[in-house]
């Protein structure tokens, strides 16, 4: 373990990994130019990728290319976006087809997704902003712990939390991705009937979390026909 006690004050330490960004996608599309519709109301735009396995995705979205907001289900429905990926595509889910959608998507690599870690060529934006990737004046986000945990299907209406010990003594920041459906890596979703992105509640899992100073507890909720288990990938960051 690192001898550094103040890593927040340095840009980078080899003791800590960073999020491994393997893809950056900028672009726009007309809201009406969707590729498919889920459950009759949820529009889906597919962005192809070449990694041959799912990646963790998060995005910034905008209707005016100025004011962006992050993907996630906790926003008003007119402006909410959610994302997941499989082995070939990144999927953008949305409800509002009226406007042009501007997006900035970041895909990060999942180590040991299938115990086969191939050589890949990262896909980065052609923007001239990418002339420099490291600047020691900045504090780069440092990953303290990361991994995968397999959560068994608890059964409908049953809540059986599973704990990941971090023992940090403080409340860290973290990110969670999981298989809401098999072989798809989703951003965390939950909210039952009030979550528009839970378009197939009979088969999808929902994931909730609560983090104490010693553990990150995961609550997987099941649909009637959900898979026997779901993998959850977690990243716990050094900074709070």
């Amino acid at each position: 373990m690192s001898q550094i006690s103040n890593a927040q004050n340095i840009a980078f330490s080899t003791a800590f990994a960073t999020d491994k960004i393997c893809g950056i996608y900028n672009g726009s599309f007309a809201g009406t130019a969707y590729d498919t519709i889920y459950a009759g109301y949820l529009y889906v735009k597919k962005i192809p990728h070449t990694f041959g396995r799912p990646v963790m995705c998060e995005g910034l979205f905008s209707y005016d290319n100025v004011n962006f907001f992050p993907s996630g289900t906790g926003y008003s429905l007119a402006t909410a976006f959610c994302m997941y990926s499989d082995s070939n595509f990144i999927y953008i889910l949305y409800e509002n087809t009226i406007n042009t959608v501007y997006y900035k998507i970041v895909a990060t690599w999942i180590d040991n997704y299938d115990l086969n870690n191939p050589l890949i060529t990262p896909v980065l934006s052609s923007s001239s902003n990418y002339s420099k990737f490291f600047d020691s004046r900045y504090n780069y986000q440092k990953v303290l712990m990361s991994g995968v945990i397999t959560l068994p299907n608890p059964g409908v209406g049953v809540d059986t939390p599973v704990s990941i010990e971090h023992n940090l003594g403080y409340l860290p920041t973290y990110k969670l991705y999981f298989e809401s459906l098999p072989n798809q890596v989703w951003q965390q979703i939950g909210g039952g009937s009030q979550d528009v992105f839970l378009y197939n509640p009979g088969q999808q899992f929902e994931l909730y979390d609560e983090c104490s100073k010693t553990t990150l507890d995961l609550h997987l909720l099941s649909g009637a026909s959900s898979a026997t288990s779901a993998r959850c990938w977690y990243r716990i960051y050094y900074d709070v």
Partner: protein
């Protein structure tokens, strides 16, 4: 662009990385009683430094002392009415300029009023950026 075994990398100056910018905070206090078949709303605001940064939104409950990821979940499981049980507290946000207006709401579909455990949720938006 070179090819990489990403699992072998801690950090590469050939790849972009997230930069921590700043943390922004706000608070919402939840208390009172939710009447039968009614919904109670509680509001708060966080001012962000930019509308072009990524951010992760978390809430810490003064009652449980625990942190919950918020912006990727349409609801969080918090103990708001019964100290021994999880209940579903819904959350959503809207932007006005750089202000992120957060609404928590309790939907009581039951036939009896629900008395809430008085507690304050401290929200933190952890802003980070990429050179987009």
């Amino acid at each position: 662009m070179s090819s990489y075994r990403m699992d072998k990398i801690q950090f590469s100056s050939n790849l972009p990385n997230f930069i921590n910018v700043k943390n922004d905070t706000g608070a919402i206090t939840v208390s009172g009683t939710v009447a039968a078949t009614s919904t109670s709303f509680f509001n708060g605001t966080i001012t962000l430094s930019s509308r072009s940064n990524f951010f992760s939104l978390y809430a810490v409950s003064s009652y449980t002392g625990k942190k919950y990821a918020v912006n990727n979940v349409g609801s969080v499981y918090l103990s708001y009415a019964n100290a021994s049980a999880f209940d579903q507290l819904y959350v959503y946000s809207t932007f006005v300029g750089n202000n992120l207006n957060i609404t928590l709401y309790v939907d009581n579909s039951g036939a009896s009023p629900v008395t809430l455990i008085s507690q304050t949720y401290t929200f933190t938006a952890v802003e980070y950026q990429l050179p987009f």
